[in-house]
């Protein structure tokens, strides 16, 4: 199938998943926020988060294992760059209250002005950083 059809279908599924969590549990499907609530647990507010993350990891792994050619692993990215990236993503998502899913998928769906500002900001810095990494510093 064309990459863009799979992309659009996958995107709709992500949107449906966020709708499901909001409709049933009344919660925002932001992955960094859900993970943060496991890392900094509050009584009675942990189990559903763990189950969401298990569902995400297992379903993604099943698809990537079972569909031929679906998983294109990359394993040679510089380790130091991975660590710096991880630190920035972890720190930034806590400081900015969300990531691609919380601000992007859910926040824009709620027509949140804060999330629109967040998405515009992380798109710009991500594009600039990718430009620097690939075309100025040639790290890839």
């Amino acid at each position: 199938m064309d990459a863009w059809i799979l992309a659009a279908t996958g995107g709709v599924l992500i949107g449906l998943a966020a709708t499901l969590l909001l409709w049933l549990n009344g919660r925002v499907a932001g992955v960094s926020g859900i993970l943060g609530g496991v890392l900094f647990p509050r009584r009675g507010d942990v189990d559903w988060r763990v189950m969401f993350l298990i569902g995400l990891i297992v379903a993604a792994a099943l698809y990537l294992q079972l569909v031929p050619g679906a998983y294109v692993p990359r394993s040679d990215f510089p380790r130091a760059a991975l660590v710096v990236a991880g630190l920035l993503v972890g720190f930034g998502t806590r400081m900015g209250n969300g990531c691609t899913s919380g601000h992007g998928v859910c926040g824009l769906g709620r027509r949140s002005g804060r999330s629109l500002a967040a998405v515009a900001t992380f798109m710009v810095t991500a594009i600039v950083t990718t430009f620097l990494m690939r075309h100025v510093w040639s790290v890839r």
Binding site: R27, I54, G90, G109, T130
Partner: protein
């Protein structure tokens, strides 16, 4: 297992399926999408587009219901102000995303595939989250 946990498991599974199907779990495609001044690959625009169109339409119906099916109330962010913390935090997040091509969801999916890169990225991400907690003095 209570009904909310079961619901979260189902939602997480659909979310993970969508991530895997869409191509978001391939960091090189993510970087191709972000590389608008180079070998730009626009396919992932359809991921965000499909996801946001879906939530834009369906969230309206859900929120009109007044309360969720399995919980007493919706728990949504209430803040409306765009402050430096929001912009600074999301700027840092975007920089991290643009370095390696991983945001939290796809990185976790990589962990499920025992990707060696996820084994470096995820612990660093958790340390970053802890560091923010320490620095904000909570």
């Amino acid at each position: 297992m209570n009904r909310q946990s079961l619901a979260a498991l189902a939602a997480g599974a659909v979310f993970g399926l969508g991530l895997a199907m869409s191509g978001m779990t391939d960091p090189e495609r993510v970087l191709g999408f972000l590389d608008v001044f180079g070998a730009f690959d626009p396919a992932l625009l359809f991921v965000l587009g499909g996801a946001v169109l879906t939530t834009l339409v369906l969230f309206g119906f859900v929120l009109k219901r007044g309360r969720p099916l399995l919980a007493a109330a919706f728990q949504l962010p209430t803040r409306k102000d765009v402050d430096r913390k929001l912009l600074g935090g999301t700027a840092l997040f975007g920089a991290g995303w643009g370095i390696a091509g991983y945001c939290p969801g796809p990185a976790l999916a990589g962990l499920g595939m025992l990707s060696v890169e996820a084994l470096w990225f995820i612990p660093a991400m958790l340390v970053g989250m802890l560091a923010h907690r320490w620095m904000s003095g909570a």
